[in-house]
């Protein structure tokens, strides 16, 4: 006898625009926060204790915010807007001021990817001005590190993921392209390591788990495609997971590597077991496309939340599969 479908533990309303991106900041500090970027250029900072928006920052002159993140260890927020700019915000002592900004030149929807190199320096990867171009810069100095352009015509860059492998000198970068290809780049060598065609349609989103070297990507069709890296950094396609309805906006693996969440165009969030991609739950609450999902980074695993942001201008928060938390 399976349990009845779950319902959200609470919802956040009042953003007044579709919610493109979500980012939790719950590991340190007193109040757990959730950042959201809206379609009208506002970045809401939701206090998860009071369940109200504490501050609203507007910095992209009304253009849609497609990505937000925080720099680990500092009170710096980073946001990317469709005004082709990436902004760095100073949040310390309750300020909301734009410290610095960076012009990307990208007209697409590709979200940036951030990698912490040391406590001070970060690498930021973003889609560049040209169609297939990916640029990587160092933050906060904004020094360009490299520009990656594939040899073949693959269409626009759709999604990227930068990570530092345990073995190997430099960071690697995974990128999904408009024609459905996945590419693995070596950032220091500026070389293409592997390429595979994962989807017939554009790759809409991907996520990668550096621990077990597995990743999964979603597209506008009915399948999630999972793949892995072998010892020689070759991308190998594995089985695909069929969905009931086509279209995935975002994928997210929980910090403990046990759950995968997908934000569906069918207004639903799906939960899979990350090991075997076994479907575990379908979260139905939203009345329009779900655009983003995120797992919180609470230190106590039992408090972990899942947030989903939707085009229906709401964020739903779910507490799901936290029972066996003692092991994780």
């Amino acid at each position: 006898m399976s349990r009845a479908a779950p319902s959200p533990i609470f919802t956040l309303r009042g953003a007044g625009a579709p919610l493109n991106t979500l980012h939790f900041s719950c590991h340190g500090g007193d109040t757990p926060l959730l950042f959201s970027g809206s379609g009208k250029g506002a970045i809401h900072m939701w206090n998860l204790n009071t369940r109200r928006a504490e501050t609203v920052a507007e910095g992209h002159s009304g253009n849609s915010v497609v990505w937000v993140n925080t720099l680990q260890g500092t009170d710096t927020l980073i946001s990317q807007g469709r005004d082709m700019r990436v902004c760095l915000w100073d949040l310390s002592e309750g300020r909301t001021a734009v410290l610095d900004s960076l012009w990307t030149g990208s007209v697409g929807f590709c979200q940036c990817s951030l990698l912490e190199m040391s406590t001070e320096t970060h690498l930021l990867a973003f889609a560049g001005q040209q169609t297939e171009e990916i640029k990587i810069v160092e933050l906060p100095s904004k020094t360009p590190v490299c520009t990656l352009i594939p040899d073949a015509k693959l269409g626009m860059v759709m999604c990227i993921k930068l990570w530092q492998p345990d073995s190997g000198p430099g960071p690697l970068l995974l990128a999904g392209y408009e024609d459905g290809s996945l590419l693995l780049w070596d950032v220091t060598q500026r070389a293409q390591l592997s390429q595979t065609k994962a989807h017939p349609e554009p790759v809409m989103c991907l996520t990668f788990d550096p621990q077990c070297l597995r990743g999964v990507s979603g597209s506008s069709e009915k399948d999630l495609c999972s793949w892995r890296l072998d010892g020689q950094n070759n991308l190998q396609l594995q089985d695909s997971v069929p969905l009931v309805n086509p279209g995935v906006s975002q994928l997210c693996v929980r910090g403990d590597g046990k759950l995968l969440a997908s934000a569906g165009w069918d207004h639903r969030v799906r939960i899979f077991g990350w090991k075997k991609l076994r479907p575990l739950a379908v979260l139905q609450y939203h009345t329009d496309l779900v655009l983003s999902v995120a797992f919180s980074d609470h230190q106590d695993p039992r408090q972990r939340l899942l947030a989903a942001g939707s085009k229906d201008q709401r964020i739903s928060l779910w507490s799901i599969f936290n029972e066996g938390a003692d092991t994780g």
Partner: protein
């Protein structure tokens, strides 16, 4: 003249003592005369008196002695005695002589004395009297017939004193009453003393001595009839049940005891006992075949407990019916009871005029007794039962009260299953609730042994339960350990999936224009498109008011005639909310259309009820102040959750009535209607008449398919209720006075309708008239009707079989009085000013 000798001797000695006590001041004399008096009570070998003397003293002088002592309670010599001497010599006389005389004198003394040390003394003696088991001695002596004279007056007085002891002491002592005189404790004590007396009786019978239980039985009867059967039987029933299990003498004693209970007290004894015993077997052992020998007992058990009273638990029914079924000689009574029960159940007038609780009680009794029948007996009663079943089901199913219909269905099912009608069974569709489940559970007999486990003093039962709990814990532990090893193998199995059956394919794009919806609903055969159109229709109506106004009547017409061809989830509520939205958006034309259609031909009851509900909901919405943001999400989320159509849910209907009444009562206590936070125009007031008057126009014109005043009283009840709601919402509207007058006229004709739903509706309407009509209009316009209405309401409040009706009538009376009082005060104030 030998026999005279002890008499005179004793008399002389006692007189001597009295003289000494009243005249002498010497402590030695006092003590020796008290000791002399004591010597007449002493039994045993070293006693100074002969048995004859003792008997004579007890018979003729003991009461006198005690009275004498009491009258000298303030004498100096008493105060001169030491505490030990007093306790021994003075108090001892009360505690050691014949207890019945002592008790009578003590109670007399207590009721005569005012608060003083003397009273305290008497109270403490009485307390010791009770605690030292003198009551048992009293009862036992009556059993032995050693009581001096059997004069009825003395018995009567004694009985009254025993039973009324808590009252007497409480009256005298007020707050200083002793705990052992409180009814709960006293009657528990009395019960155990009666048990002691019975036990001694048993012993005596075994030894071959005759005993009489008349006095004990009278005591028991009197205690019960005064309402103390609870504590008494709480003690006696378990003990008697245990004792009678193996001991025939005990059984005989119990039977004799109950036989000796006077007729006029028999009922309270039996009802007390039947509630206290656990199970029919125990009851049978204690009561024996009393029902066969005692007419009164038979009447109580076979008639009064089953058909007239209905306050008892189901366990009582089980006990009574099981008792009748248990013995061959009593079985004819069971059949007789079953006949009576089935007639009572099937009686159409009873269905209509008796309280619901009683019908439930009779249904339970019927099912239980049918279950107890043997197959042969069933054959004998078959035709009668069948008759009862068919007739009774018809009258139950006719009722407009859902619970009664359910009751009819369940009983019908059970009877048909039990009678085995050529292997055919009735089967109804109804929602399982607590009540139906309880009725169904009555058909499975409880294994007879189980409730019989009556531990001697309730010690064993906690052990049993404590034994049980670890075993269940063990089981759950085992389950856990079984599931544990599997989870280590694969981490995905650590999580058990949720129910994902609702994860269906997304349907096509929903229509964006109201006209598209209309087109789809009219002509499309595609179930998906129809569903989508229905789902978005309400939001579209509210979004684009102008577009909605253009086609409001047309869309209403289509919706009214739409049927749920495709079993769409939440169809009825979707249709309803859309129609409500249309009515609110384009009020006058739509109400005009709906009210006309309500009385036209070729509609089903369901549609007519729908019309009423849509109008009611729309009126409610209109009367609310406009909320700034009617977020569309409310509508959307509610139609996904709200699968139950309100009209289908019987609880809902009652809840709504309840809530409305409650909301009104609250308003009353707060004074006048609360001022809204911000003044907004009432959208309902200008159009209230459009909702109200058209519905009044045609009610008395019966048609081929629709006869409001005839068989369709379900619709009539709803209609009146809806009108009441319109009235209630029209508070402060200018048209309220006219509406109220018209509504009162309308309901007057049906105020004594047979259907309680109609009567409830009428009373609700009257309530709302009194609430909403301005009080001056009430007095001026309805002057002559008010008096009659009041009389009618008082009549209903007193005599209606339906509880809701009675409550509503009381509510109306209160409202009317309030309104009138206010009006009269206002007028007085006006007169004063002028």
């Amino acid at each position: 003249m030998d026999s005279l000798a002890p008499h005179t001797e004793v008399r002389v000695a006692v007189a001597q003592c009295f003289r000494t006590l009243s005249t002498s001041a010497e402590p030695e004399d006092i003590i020796s005369s008290l000791q002399t008096l004591h010597s007449f009570l002493d039994e045993g070998p070293e006693s100074r008196s002969t048995p004859d003397q003792r008997a004579e003293f007890s018979r003729a002088h003991f009461t006198r002695t005690l009275q004498f002592l009491l009258s000298n309670i303030q004498a100096d010599w008493l105060l001169g005695l030491s505490a030990a001497q007093r306790t021994d010599l003075w108090d001892g006389l009360f505690l050691r002589g014949p207890p019945e005389q002592a008790l009578v004198v003590l109670m007399e003394g207590i009721s005569e004395l005012k608060a003083s040390t003397s009273l305290d003394l008497l109270i403490s003696i009485t307390e010791r009297f009770l605690l030292s088991g003198r009551l048992a001695a009293l009862l036992w002596s009556s059993c032995m017939q050693t009581a001096p004279s059997d004069s009825p007056q003395l018995r009567e007085t004694l009985l009254a004193r025993i039973v009324a002891l808590p009252d007497l002491t409480a009256n005298r002592l007020h707050l200083k009453n002793k705990p052992c005189f409180c009814p709960q404790q006293y009657f528990t004590l009395l019960a155990s003393e009666m048990l002691t007396a019975l036990e001694r009786t048993c012993q005596a019978l075994k030894d071959g001595t005759d005993c009489s239980l008349i006095f004990v039985a009278q005591t028991l009867g009197k205690v019960c009839v005064q309402g103390h059967s609870g504590p008494v039987f709480a003690v006696m029933a378990p003990r008697l049940s245990v004792c009678t299990r193996s001991d025939m003498v005990w059984q005989r004693v119990c039977w004799k005891l109950l036989q000796n209970v006077p007729q006029r007290w028999m009922e309270s004894v039996l009802t007390g006992l039947v509630q206290a015993v656990r199970g029919p077997d125990a009851f049978g052992r204690i009561v024996g075949n009393l029902v066969l020998t005692n007419k009164k007992a038979q009447y109580v058990v076979t008639h009064k407990l089953l058909l007239l009273q209905y306050k008892y638990e189901t366990q009582v029914l089980r006990t009574v019916l099981g008792y009748l079924a248990a013995d061959r000689e009593r079985r004819p009574l069971l059949l007789q009871v079953l006949r009576a029960l089935s007639q009572a159940w099937a009686n159409p007038s009873a269905v209509r005029h008796t309280p619901l609780e009683q019908q439930l009680y009779v249904s339970k009794a019927l099912l239980l007794s049918v279950n107890l029948l043997r197959d042969a007996e069933l054959q004998e009663l078959r035709s009668e039962l069948l008759q009862c079943m068919l007739g009774g089901m018809q009258s139950h199913l006719d009722s407009s009260v859902v619970r009664i219909r359910h009751m009819g269905m369940v009983v019908g099912e059970c009877l048909s299953a039990r009678m085995d009608l050529n292997n055919t069974k009735l089967k109804f569709e109804y929602d399982q609730d607590e009540e139906t489940l309880e009725l169904l559970s009555l058909m499975t007999p409880i294994s007879g042994e189980e409730p019989e486990e009556e531990p001697e003093n309730g010690v064993t039962s906690p052990q049993e339960t404590s034994e049980k709990t670890p075993s269940t814990q063990n089981a759950s532990c085992q389950n856990k350990s079984k599931s544990d090893p599997g989870s280590d193998l694969d981490s995905d199995d650590e999580f058990s999936p949720y129910d994902m059956s609702a994860d269906q394919e997304m349907t096509k794009e929903s229509p964006r224009y109201l006209r598209d919806c209309l087109e789809t609903l009219i002509s499309s055969e595609d179930s998906v498109r129809v569903e989508l159109s229905l789902r978005v229709a309400e939001a579209l109506v509210r979004k684009n008011v102008f577009a909605a106004r253009e086609i409001s009547v047309q869309l209403t017409k289509v919706l009214l005639h739409t049927e749920d061809k495709y079993s769409i989830r939440g169809f009825l509520s979707l249709r309803q909310t859309t129609m409500v939205a249309l009515t609110v958006t384009d009020c006058i034309p739509v109400t005009q259309y709906l009210t006309t259609e309500f009385y036209s031909m070729n509609y089903g009851l369901r549609q007519r009820l729908d019309i009423l509900e849509v109008l009611a909901l729309a009126a409610q919405e209109l009367s609310k102040p406009i909320s700034e943001e009617r977020s569309p999400s409310v509508g959307v989320s509610s139609c996904t959750d709200l699968t139950l159509y309100p009209g289908d849910n019987p609880v809902h209907w009652r809840q709504v009535v309840e809530r409305r009444i409650q909301s009104k009562t609250k308003r009353l206590t707060k004074g006048a209607t609360q001022p809204p936070a911000k003044a907004t125009p009432n959208r309902y007031a200008p159009v209230a008449g459009h909702f109200f008057f058209p519905l009044l126009s045609n009610y008395d014109k019966p048609q081929v398919t629709f006869d409001l005043l005839g068989g369709d009283h379900l619709v009539l009840g709803r209609l009146i209720h809806t009108m009441g709601l319109f009235m209630h919402l029209a508070v402060n509207a200018p048209v309220a006075a006219q509406m109220g007058r018209a509504l009162l006229d309308f309901v007057w004709a049906v105020r004594y309708h047979v259907d309680q739903m109609v009567r409830r509706g009428v009373l609700f309407a009257v309530c709302s008239v009194f609430l909403s009509m301005p009080s001056q209009n009430l007095l001026v316009d309805l002057n002559e009707q008010l008096f009659e209405t009041r009389t009618w309401l008082a009549d209903v409040a007193e005599g209606d079989p339906d509880e809701d009706c009675r409550n509503l009538a009381i509510q109306s009376l209160v409202l009317l009085d309030k309104s009138l009082k206010k009006q009269l005060q206002d007028q007085q104030a006006l007169d004063m000013e002028t």
